[in-house]
Amino acid sequence: MTDDCPLVCAVHRRDPGLPAAVCRRWILFLLLPLLPLFALGCATHERRLLAIRDGFYSGDLPVAEKSLDDGLKHDHRDSEVLLLERSIVELAEGRPRESEQALRTVRDRFDELERARLGKAAIALITDDRHKAYCGEDYEKVLIRALLSLANLLGDGQDAVAYALQVADKQQQIIEAAGAEASSDGPNPKLAYKQVAIGPYLHGLIREATHGNYDDAARASALVVQWEPQFLDGRADLERARHGRHSAPGNGVLYVFALVGRGPYKEETLELPTTVSLLIADRIISATNKYSLPPTIAPVKVPRIVIPPNEIAGIGVYVDGRPAGTTATITDVGRMAVEQHQAIYPRILAEAVVRRVVKKGIVLGAKEAMGANQATLTSVALDVAGIAWEASEAADTRCWGLLPDKIQVLRLELPTGRHQVALQPVSRYGSTGAAEPQAVTIDDGRNTYLLANFPDSRLVGRIATNSP
């Protein structure tokens, strides 16, 4: 630290008798040991998340809820992630209104954090990313809107169109924002993002049910076909929107949505900096001062996306005891998470490198300020503190852990009246697990919606519907 350091000057002014060098030493001795403390306190979040997931996947929703309540009471820093988990638990419990409320809160909070640019980025630089307010992965921001639309359809459906339109809008915003950032540095990495077809799908099905806006439905179906070509039902939807009709007189439509499989989560991994990430790190360093990145090849801790194996290929739907079809994937959440993570991975790695370099710089500077030579005890103590500081760093593994691996859907045109529907998971070897029944009432010319959670061969919670 130099003599013009404001903190040293301030202490020196208060007590002019105290030599400046002594002031510096005392300040550094007091401040440095505090730095590793920033890194503490995230292990509880991971343990809590594990309890929530275990409770949810075993079908014990009260246990998951209790862990969520504890977390929300004590862990304000991760309240957004916990609210996201809660929204899925509430959907599974058949409480779409509460789920919508939680999702809306997080959506607004994430938008706020996005505008706040870096949040607690400065603290994150001397600790790690876990100390930044969690502002969501890009796929999470988009899926929040998709699930908002779904939850709303299971309620009164008044805002479902708005939420569905926000899906595509948010995707566009994310790509454009990254484009503006990347314009001087090179290509926009987020152009590689896969677009989420469930947004236009939901928009299309709602507009089709007005019986007067087939042009909107056709436009939305065309996007679904373009963005999710493997969703074969999309072609039939497009054809119907262009030349057909919502349903024959006396019939209504049942949409069965299924959240299938266990979704992506993050775990920590040690990675060597790549050439691309070092280049980005160099740009970050050079943007704030005149120095370039010092050479570093030490491995850094970064998160990686893990997709648990998914045995469930689809959900078989039975209507009044007869097989009616199997759900098909409209959005592959796991694949989307992996692809998006790959697209921004060099940046994640670069930020970890920058953090490492800043920490080294601070320890080095502290030694210089205290006049610690290589052989002195102070120097050794600072080295040990520096090592402890770097070792306390961990990757930010926060994520929306209860997302499904896939969002699937099946459209069925059924005669008006009450029907007994049953849902049974299907693996690639055939039906697996019990068939779960749910009664629905189909109205003439209207849509009815069902939503079920099948993280594996067993239904979690209950089947939600807007028309029991």
């Binding site: 706020e112 954090l113 087939y214 436009r219 009709r245 349903s247 920058v354 800043v358």
Partner: protein, 216 residues
């Protein structure tokens, strides 16, 4: 010496991050006459509002003259009009503007007292009951079925009204000009005669401010 500079730089990096702007969002009420925002990537209120005003104004203007000159010079009762909807055939998504355009056009027609529009809720109910697509209403059998369904609801009408949005794009390297056209088509359900009025608006989209200054 280098170490000192490096330390200082590290703190500057930290301070730079701390200085990020806060995440507040601001809003203001726009009064009539205040400049509207201009959509930078696609058409917005600045495009649809004047288009709608012009097209509906032209249509009403023409029929206002016709309606006031009855056989004995008396003002005729308003004609019943069934506004089927706004059809978007342009390259752009119009998203939440579509329903707003419908409501604005419907309100203007109602205010004019030249036509008496059928409520949108009856129109939707009629379409649902018959399961007819708006674009297939001109098939004679479909027309009879739809008119019958509306009469059943106590909502007979004389005219069908369609609003259609189309666009045309001209590109010049990275910039482009888009011409928006709103067409109002009024079809007499008794004899099939139709009237059409349209309004057009062109908008330039530029990839940079400089480009806008040079070409604007």
């Amino acid at each position: 010496m280098h170490r000192r500079h490096f330390l200082r730089s590290s703190f500057v990096t930290l301070a730079g991050c701390l200085g990020g702007c806060r995440g507040n969002q601001y809003a203001e009420v726009k009064h009539p006459g205040d400049p509207s925002m201009v959509g930078s990537h696609q058409a917005g209120g600045e495009t649809w509002r004047p288009l709608m005003d012009e097209a509906v104004g032209k249509l009403l203007g023409r029929h206002s003259v016709a309606r006031q000159s009855g056989p004995n010079g008396q003002v005729l009762p308003p004609l019943r009009i069934c506004f089927v909807g706004v059809e978007n055939k342009s390259i752009e998504e119009i998203g939440d503007f579509k329903d707003q355009l419908y409501e604005q056009i419907d309100s203007k027609i109602l205010e004019s007292q030249i036509f008496q529009p059928v409520s949108k809720r009856f129109v939707e109910a009629g379409l649902m009951q018959t399961r007819l697509r708006p674009d297939l209403l001109m098939v004679p059998a479909n027309m009879r079925m739809f008119v019958g369904a509306m009469e059943q609801q106590g909502q007979p009408f004389d005219y069908l009204l369609y609003a259609t949005i189309t666009s045309g794009t001209t590109r010049e390297n990275k910039d482009y000009q888009r011409d928006y056209l709103l067409t109002m088509e009024l079809v007499d359900v008794h004899n099939g005669q139709y009237d059409k009025q349209s309004a057009t608006l062109s908008k330039g989209y530029y990839h940079s401010r400089l480009s806008r200054l040079m070409k604007g």
